[in-house]
């Protein structure tokens, strides 16, 4: 009886020590699920989801505080990917957060720009260059099309232009087969 108890107790001690050691040795910093969700989000940093950036939204989704259908730039495909990852049901994009738009870049009308720097402060990815009372311009390659610069502009000189297709970005279409009615 006593031997059995001792054996069981020692096994418990050994296994407990092992588990304790493993939890220190293989400790995971941060939440890997947030990273996975963040990787799916388009990183527009537009805040249309109601969170200040993509990562806070990813954290909220992981914590179950937000729905997966609040990201208009990610669109339907993004929602599908999130639904797959999290094993949740697919939902159409929630209307209160906006609609899916074609990818665009912001363009500053350089004649109208007064150099107030308000858009520079608003840009989440530092894609606008300029200085006080100097003309501003947008680094198109880094612009995510978040539209956050539109509202602060006092002279409404920023407009969104859809990105045109070039040979480098052109895609082969999905093969479509004509179906003919049987004669």
């Amino acid at each position: 009886m006593l031997t059995a108890l001792l054996v069981m107790a020692s096994i418990a001690v050994v296994l407990g020590a092992l588990l304790g050691f493993a939890s220190i040795k293989f400790k995971v910093e941060g939440d890997p699920l947030v990273d996975q969700i963040d990787a799916i989000l388009p990183q527009t940093q537009c805040g249309q989801c109601g969170f200040p950036g993509c990562r806070p939204y990813a954290t909220a989704i992981a914590g179950g505080e937000a729905e997966i259908n609040q990201c208009p730039p990610g669109g339907e495909e993004g929602i599908r990917k999130l639904a797959d990852l999290l094993g949740r049901e697919f939902k159409p994009l929630s209307e209160e957060h906006g609609v899916e738009k074609p990818k665009s870049v912001a363009i500053i009308d350089e004649q109208t720009c007064i150099g107030c720097t308000l858009c520079i402060q608003a840009c989440p990815v530092d894609a606008i260059v300029g200085a006080a009372k100097q003309m501003h311009t947008i680094v198109a390659a880094d612009c995510t099309g978040c539209e956050l610069c539109l509202a602060p502009c006092p002279v409404d000189c920023i407009s969104m232009q859809p990105i045109a297709e070039t040979v480098d970005t052109w895609k082969w279409r999905y093969p479509v087969i004509e179906i003919k009615a049987a004669a």
């Binding site: 940093q45 950036g53 894609a127 040979v167």
Partner: protein, 565 residues
């Protein structure tokens, strides 16, 4: 000695249809009214335009400068006037435009001053820059800048230089005719390449359905007296002209995915590229024209020496297109792509303009379900399983398609050719590839945006902290100063309740007073009088005016101003 040849997996034997276009020699093309030369004709960066509308250009003058690490120059194909530098329709299925130089020929076809180069006495780097600026690119169809390939591998020398004269695609005979008519000059180009690559041996692979070309090349080799160059007849089987397939046939080496053939001591060039290297080095002529086969639905299929930028319809008119022509295909029937219009220009990649009609290329029968017969896998020269890739491409499961090595597909069209269900397999693979590329671009953009966003947050945080620290330091400095002043004043005033340490309110008030005192001092100092540097006479004048103003002011004070003044 009979060379041992190897076999590549799969392949097909379509009807070659090459004979009609080989009966006549290569013909010149009369100058068109207008040449449209796209600036971006090769793999790599977009060349930047070097001319403006209205400029006079000479034949062979550079109009597009190589830009970036992998880019190749573009030249005016004839002398004339630049009418415009604007986007124009390019020979690409998409029907998109690209920046092009539009030249109106003056009819003189006058060459610019050409610099030749003795390649034996020129350092390799200079030689490569020369070829880059001569716009020499792979003329087999891939248009990869040749200078980037003319580097011996890590070992500093190459074992085998493979020259591709296989020309396996049906209808196309431009390389065949080149070898028949210009084998000697082509060989000079090959010798130059061999010199640059330090290649031990050179193998010129030619499909055995071109006996005239083989004989011509062999005769040229014998005439040149060069050792270690051999023209090898290889069995006719599509796609023996694919670089990897030809290397396999001639050397037995299979280049694995993601590796370069130079790592295995082999490099492969097209015969047309060899000829244009000869022209560039020995004649100083940049790549301004190429041989193009016009075949298909025309009265007299033939090969032409075509200036780059010549509209395709101008070229096809010479061969007599039949009335029911409804499309041009750039390339052959297996890999060619349909052109969006008839007047798109001939570019460096154009080896053939295949004229099509509904009778010659009837629309494919409707696609039937895949029965997984495996014929496509048997025919695939890249050892892939097209039926699996098709399945995943069709369902847009791109990750899985990539797991089946989608990117090793050379889009040769063998699988579509043998498919008993008439599935346009290559179309699915092209679709999948471009979708995957688009996703990768998006992912890269997202990663950059994430980094930049995080950096901005970090920067704002840091700026806030720095500002706070600065303010704190300043406040502390002022407090000290005030405290020092306070320590003196209470003693002087003899206030009874002089605390050793001023209470919070007092400290604040003292700070405010100090700031106000400072502002007062600054105001007093900044009395605006910008006349200190003026000459003495002017100073005297200013003084006089000031005096007059003062007296006038006194006068007005004495007598009130008249109403309405």
């Amino acid at each position: 000695m009979l060379r041992k040849l190897f076999k590549f997996h799969g392949g097909v034997k379509p009807q070659t249809n090459k004979a009609p276009s080989t009966t006549a020699p290569i013909a010149p093309v009369p100058l068109p009214d207008r040449l449209v030369i796209p600036l971006h004709q090769a793999v790599g960066g977009h060349p930047r335009p070097l001319v403006q509308p209205g400029d006079r250009v000479l034949k062979g003058q550079r109009i597009g400068g190589a830009d970036g690490s992998l880019s190749s120059a573009v030249h005016a194909s004839t002398s004339g006037i630049v009418r415009d530098v604007a986007p124009a329709l390019m020979p690409h299925t998409s029907g998109l435009t690209t920046l092009s130089v539009i030249i109106e020929p003056d009819g003189e076809d006058r060459w610019a001053e050409l610099d030749k180069l003795n390649y034996r006495s020129t350092p390799p780097d200079e030689l490569r820059d020369f070829l880059r600026d001569a716009g020499v690119v792979g003329l087999g169809g891939a248009v990869f800048p040749s200078y980037a390939k003319l580097k011996p591998g890590k070992e500093g020398h190459l074992k085998t230089l493979v020259i591709n004269g296989a020309e396996c695609e049906p209808f196309i005979t431009c390389d065949d005719l080149l070898m028949r008519e210009r084998a000697g000059d082509m060989l000079k180009g090959i010798v130059a390449m061999r010199h640059m690559l330090h290649a031990e041996e050179v193998l010129i692979g030619i499909e055995d359905n071109k006996p005239e070309a083989i004989a011509a090349v062999q005769a040229a080799i014998a005439a040149s007296g060069e050792a270690g160059i051999e023209a090898v007849a290889i069995p006719t089987r599509y796609p023996a002209g694919g670089a990897k397939q030809l290397i396999r046939v001639l050397t037995g080496i299979e280049v694995p995915h993601g590796r370069r053939s130079t790592d295995f001591g082999v490099q492969c060039f097209n015969v047309g590229t060899a000829y244009s290297i000869f022209e560039a080095l020995e004649l100083g002529r940049p790549l301004v024209s190429r041989i193009v086969t016009v075949a298909g639905n025309v009265a007299q299929p033939r090969n032409y020496e075509v200036l780059i930028g010549t509209p395709m319809d101008h070229l096809v008119r010479l061969a007599g297109p039949r009335a029911d022509t409804d499309r041009y295909i750039m390339g052959g029937p297996m890999m060619g792509v349909r052109m969006p219009a008839f007047d798109v220009p001939v570019v460096k990649a154009t080896n053939c303009v295949l004229v099509g009609s509904p009778a010659l290329f009837p629309p494919p029968p409707p696609e039937m379900p895949c029965i997984r017969c495996g014929e496509c896998a048997k025919a695939c020269p890249a050892d892939l399983a097209p039926f699996e890739m098709y399945w995943f491409s069709r369902s847009k499961n791109f990750g899985k398609a990539q797991e089946y090595h989608l990117f090793d597909c050379i889009e040769c069209g063998c699988c579509s050719f043998v498919c008993p269900s008439h599935i346009p397999l290559v179309d699915y693979f092209r679709f999948s590839k471009s979708e995957i590329w688009a996703r990768e671009r998006e992912k890269d953009a997202a990663d950059t945006a994430r980094d930049r966003f995080e950096f901005k947050n970090l920067r704002q945080e840091r700026e806030k902290q720095e500002k706070a620290e600065k303010l704190a330091a300043k406040a502390a400095a002022t407090r000290e100063k005030v405290a020092a002043g306070d320590a003196a004043t209470p003693a002087a005033a003899g206030a009874g309740a002089a605390p050793a340490k001023p209470s919070g309110d007092d400290a604040k008030r003292a700070l405010i007073e100090a700031a106000m005192e400072k502002a007062r001092q600054q105001k007093a100092q900044a009395a605006p009088k910008n006349t200190e540097v003026a000459a003495p006479e002017i100073q005297a004048e200013i003084a006089a005016i000031d005096a007059r103003r003062e007296s006038a002011a006194k006068a007005t004070e004495a007598t009130p101003p008249a109403p309405g003044a």
